[in-house]
Amino acid sequence: MLRFFLKRLATIIPTVILASMIIFALQQLLPGDPAIALSGEEKDPEVVAFIREKYHLNDPLPVRYAYWIGGVLHGDMGESIRLQQPVAQLIVAKFPVTLQLAVMAMAIAVLIGVPMGVLSAVYNGKAMDYTANVIALWGLSTPNFWLGIMLILLFSVQLGWLPASGYVPPTENLWENLRAMILPAFVLGNSIAAVMMRHTRAAMLQVLSSDYVRTARAKGLSPRAVIVRHCLRNASVPVITLGALEFGALLSGALLTEQVFSIPGFGKLMVDAVFNRDYAVVQGVVLCTATTYILLNLIADLAYFLVNPKLRRS
């Protein structure tokens, strides 16, 4: 177990380092003098000079990267030009909001997608299967920001059941927090549910046609017992690995969903930063997102490890 973990960790570290390099290199895309671009709207020569000094812009690129990543490792991701706050502090403040949204959305995606995939595979070729496939195709093809807008139109504007926007921290009022988060979480979970359904269906079909399922049926087990005892665990292996890749879609989608519902999370922080040319914040958020994504995949690997006895024992 520990060896497996360390081995995975060893492959992850170079990926994180390379990703951080890519994120740092984004700066090079800025047209013209980065110091002027970084100085925001007012091109005060003093500010430009200060920025040039502060970000070591006179040094070659690798040296600047070393300064930047050194700072990041000490928890210093630079300062937001607009908000005059350390980027790390902003991220720590906004991260829990996005995390709550992501966790709720993933829970919704799994609760909808997995049972639908199982049913669709078990009733392969029947009405149930077609219905599930149509729902999945619908989920995959609906842009989540549009779905968000339509649901606001229905539940907030027309019916008045749920707030259209406005975030309430759970520590302040849990009920109001859930009321504000349920629509965004559903919107975000919707397309991922479709992907989960497809993965689950494919994995279940594979398992259902396997020889050991035939053995289980030859023992006289009922269809229900065959599915529960022999299929679900084996089908969960590919669903976990493929499902983990959806964390990326989850983080991307969170950004749009937060924008639609005005939720002050990571996505809102990044979009606001993009428009205010607050590049240190953009880099910080992207770096954190990438790191989170990689860590979530590591966790999924461990879950995969736990359900797969072949890996566990050897």
């Binding site: 070729g125 609906t142 807008i149 139109l153 259209a164 079909l205 950004l255 924008q259 997102t289 994504y293």
Partner: protein
Amino acid sequence: MSVLSSTPAPPTAPLAAPLAAAARERSPLEEALRRLVRRRGAMLGLAVVVLFIVVAVFAPHIAPYDPTATSWLAVRKPPTWEHPFGTDEVGRDVLSRVIFGARASLSAGLVSVALAVAIGLPVGMIAGYAGGLVEAALMRLTDAMLAIPFLILAIALSAFLGPTLTNAMIAIGLSATTIFIRLTRAQVQSTKVEEFVEAARAAGATPLRIVLRHILPNIMPAILVQATLTIAAAIIAEASLSFLGLGQQPPDPSWGSMLNTAKNFLSQAPWMAIWPGLSIFLAVLSFNLLGDGLRDALDPRHRN
């Protein structure tokens, strides 16, 4: 329990031989086309895709109004015979804007995927065929890019490139490149050990010739399927970027930016949000249908 999928080993035997014999009577391409045509979903998808392309190409002839012409006399008018989709917050005809918006969405989908294939295919082939250190380096870089979620990378790229439709296409294309690098590499790796490639190598063909003449035609179906499905994702990505204000800039119409504006007038003018969104949904759905159908038609193993 009813399981339609592949039968367990002994029962397949009576099926496999005669069915393989039947397949040999038609060429693989004919066989694939026959399967594609038989899938109603794929044909419907293709029809809608063609419809959207026609609308985009002939937009100036089809649209009843100038999509950017404002009219203070017709602000946020609900759908009428005169304006079937209603008008927006400055009196522009929503139908005309939806029609012209097809141009931004479709060109973004096609151009960005073309860019992704143009970079991803050669890089993936080099990685897959060369192996060794070259492959290791390229794949590490790909992994690192994949670690940044697709849309986040696209947003970050267009943030630094500047908000224009062209930059949005570049950003989406670059972000999608990794998909094609990985796919091509995997396909090349599995194809290059097959007998016909071994035979070509034994016959003294150069690596370049082997890749272009023997491997490329064999991996094209997989690339085509992935490209079709990626166009769907790219259309959503363009709409997302435009929705955030990072793609098509006003007053030029795009479905995403129309939704961004519509969001502010939901209670007063819901029609402003319905039509552009529905168009994105239909375009994406039809590319998805077509892609799924192509996959089933070109790769029978994948059918289930």
